[in-house]
Symmetry: C2
Subunit: 214 residues, 2 copies
């Protein structure tokens, strides 16, 4: 059942392979928002007019198009969805301290974690890959420590339910199939708001081959 | 007069030269929060125990210490201040669409704008500096266009009062004394919540000389 919040049409422009578009889809699913999903068909080679028009600054998916307004940047989209459809479940916690902690870790994922992932993907030799992998392992250890400190009982960062940090972290699961087997990752990927949108490891490998010409 | 919001003590750990610490000071000033400002004395050469303990992940100022909780990352601090002391003036707008736009532009400042500033500062030759300066000019043009589109009448991004995007943009004013003379910059720097914390151009030049050994 669609939640009340707005009568305007909702569209999400994404690609199946985008870990950032996944965030938008999970948030919309959690809030039971009815929306049209538009696949940006050939993101590696060209960008659609709709993408260029709705995200002229960054020209990247995901873009949430709500009525005549475009919302860009995946974490921004998740916060927007939480605020525009304020009925339960809440994605961000209500206490300002918990909200600040959630934003801190989400920012950490997009900064430090993705920096290491990009460095590993773009490394020119084995030494570069090892250095990047070392940084990434440090990031994951910091995330794990943050999870332990902030956890209030439950499988997810915020407790019993998927929240902002889980959705932020979910974006690194695809690129990092190496972390399969971690309990949180398995629980997250199996969640009904995540499973339909999470590509398989085989699909990711095929995509990466095309992207990096290997 | 201090606003209600919390009885816990509030401290801000910063440095006078940090454009990010400036954001925290402006937000606290706008909300009339009584706080202790702690200058991180020698940020270029060493980090205090308090900084290492309160921001173990990034080890950077600013850090807002509220009771026994530390809030790191300047934009996170500004949002936290807005949410913890919810009385007027509001720093973020109330409408989700406007909030999303404000977060988008703040993120743009920290991403694209500072990337260009850092590239210019770290350029090894004149060609590199020119390329970085070109990127920065493009960023400022995009910001200006965003300002024109979102402006609802008034000197600031959000209208009549300083808001989230102004505070985010205020951080680039120090490093960029080149944009002196722009009307928004002059109005922002003269504001009573900003003026006490904004270093002079001469102070910035002296600091940059030490930082970059020139």
């Amino acid at each position: 059942m669609a939640q009340k919040g707005s009568n305007s049409t909702v569209k999400l422009l994404g690609t199946w392979s985008s870990p950032f578009a996944l965030r938008g889809r999970v948030a919309l699913h959690l809030k039971s928002v009815e929306y049209e999903y538009i696949e940006e068909a050939d993101v590696l080679n060209s960008k659609s007019d709709l993408l260029l028009k709705s995200n002229p600054i960054h020209k990247k998916v995901p873009v949430l198009i709500h009525g005549d307004v475009s919302i860009c940047e995946s974490l921004n989209i998740v916060q927007y969805v939480d605020e525009s459809w304020p009925s339960k479940p809440s994605i961000l916690p209500s206490d300002p301290k918990d909200r600040a902690a959630a934003r801190f870790w989400a920012h950490f994922v997009d900064g430090n974690c993705f920096e290491s992932i990009d460095a590993a993907a773009g490394a020119k030799d084995e030494a570069g890959r090892m250095t990047a992998a070392g940084s990434l392992i440090e990031c994951l250890a910091a995330l794990e420590e943050g999870f332990q400190k902030s956890n209030k009982g439950g499988d997810f960062f915020g407790g019993q339910n998927i929240g902002y940090v889980d959705i932020a972290c979910g974006a690194i699961l695809g690129p990092l199939s190496v972390i399969e087997g971690f309990q949180w990752a398995e629980i997250f990927k199996a969640h009904e708001a995540v499973k339909p949108y999470m590509p398989t490891v085989a699909e990711f490998i095929e995509f990466a081959k095309q992207k990096f010409n290997v």
